[in-house]
């Protein structure tokens, strides 16, 4: 890990970003370790702790140049034995959907 990070306002931080440095509160107590992948719950908790800036790892920012066709093509290749999905194969179908959402940077609908 390069350790290069950028101080980013909490309002601009998203789940999935990675902390490039240890995060402490005003008293110096550690809130989150370096390398932690931020989740929605963590961001909400940080807001409650009065944190307004986060050291976000540059590489942890969502990639801007995702090529959906390339992602789909590669997934088709990796999942080539599971095309057309039968009833016994439903779990691998869900896994593929999750990996697709992950690779394409889709937000989870809840």
């Amino acid at each position: 890990m390069s350790g290069a990070y950028q101080m980013t306002p909490l309002a601009e931080a998203h789940p999935g970003m990675v902390l490039g440095e240890v995060l402490r509160d005003e008293k110096g107590n550690m809130l989150l370790a370096q390398g932690v992948v931020l989740s929605e719950g963590m961001l909400a908790s940080l807001a409650r702790h009065g944190v307004d800036m986060l050291p976000i790892l540059a590489a942890g920012r969502p990639a801007s140049a995702i090529d959906p066709a390339r992602v789909q093509g590669r997934l088709d290749r990796v999942f080539r034995k599971h095309e057309g999905g039968n009833d016994d194969d439903w779990a691998i179908g869900i896994l593929r959907q999750y990996v697709e959402d992950f690779r394409l940077g889709r937000e989870v609908q809840r």
Binding site: S39, V78, D88, A91, I92, L95, Y98, V99, D101, V108
Partner: protein
């Protein structure tokens, strides 16, 4: 070619380079808490290469230590005994097998897959309140039987690679077709020779068949982690193949999509960091 027998596998594992005695001790007692830690720290520190690799892992950023540790005893103090034991095992096992004996066998891809499965198994275990250290080690060693086969029969394993490529098949099928045995049997033989705990043996034995009665929950965790890592396409193999995924094992995890997306991120991040150290 002639097929291998279980007896031959038992001989193969005896010919393998042995792990440091202290690591054998750690693997056989992995579920025990009451080990004399100061004796362990001393024994490990006699092995300089093992100590250096373990300390690099301990100081990697994913473990979030505030201070740099310089001795095994310090690592145990700051990270805890279980985590340190984990790191020692990973450092030892990844350095145990010689690389490059079988042309066409991608050692790097093998270890990337194993390290990613270890990280993924540990993250799954954390969410499921299962022993994370046992899960990590089981994930790391789940396919170790492949290295037993490659090390003992490099030429024959070359034919496995060719058969798999020609049939676009899974490893298990290719191994059974060409060798008459598979990496699961070889892994179990090694687990017995290295005196792994019963839980670890079960996980190696059933990670492709977690629905088998008595397979145990750890086998289900490793089964799902293995599928996730193949699906994430992390090993760097052009012909990567998502394996069959047991719906029973998947359901047993009981996780939602948000949890899986976090799991994917953690797995990718830890793979890059750990592989940089373990495969150096």
């Amino acid at each position: 070619m002639s097929k291998l027998s279980p007896e031959q596998l038992a001989l193969d594992v005896r010919d393998l380079p042995s792990l440091p005695a202290v690591v054998m001790e750690l693997l056989s007692n992995i579920e025990q808490e009451n080990i004399d830690i100061s004796v362990l720290a001393k024994k490990v520190s006699y092995d300089q290469a093992l100590t250096a690799k373990t300390l690099r892992l301990a100081n990697s950023s994913s473990l979030g230590l505030q201070v740099k540790v310089a001795t095994i005893q310090q690592a145990i103090t700051f990270l805890g005994f279980q985590t340190t034991r984990n790191l020692i095992t990973a450092a030892a096992v990844t350095g145990c097998f010689p690389n490059g004996r079988c042309p066409g066998f991608n050692d790097k891809a093998f270890w990337r897959h194993s390290i990613a499965t270890a990280a993924c198994s540990r993250s799954l275990a954390r969410r499921l309140r299962f022993n994370q250290d046992v899960a990590f080690t089981a994930g790391l060693l789940h396919d170790i039987g492949r290295l037993v086969l490659v090390s003992g029969h490099p030429q024959a394993y070359g034919e496995v690679l060719a058969w798999r490529a020609a049939h676009d098949a899974e490893w298990l099928d290719a191994e059974r077709a060409m060798l008459g045995v598979d990496h699961v049997e070889a892994g179990v033989a090694l687990a017995e020779h290295w005196n792994f705990s019963d839980t670890m043996r079960q996980a190696i034995a059933w990670h492709h068949a977690p629905e088998t009665a008595g397979a145990g929950f750890l086998a289900a965790i490793v089964h799902v982690a293995n599928a996730v890592v193949h699906a994430l396409d992390l090993a760097g193999e052009e012909d990567e193949l998502a394996p069959a995924l047991s719906s029973v094992a998947w359901s047993a995890m009981g996780l939602n999509e948000e949890a899986y997306l976090d799991l994917f991120r953690e797995t990718e991040q830890q793979l890059e960091e750990m592989s940089a150290i373990l495969m150096a």
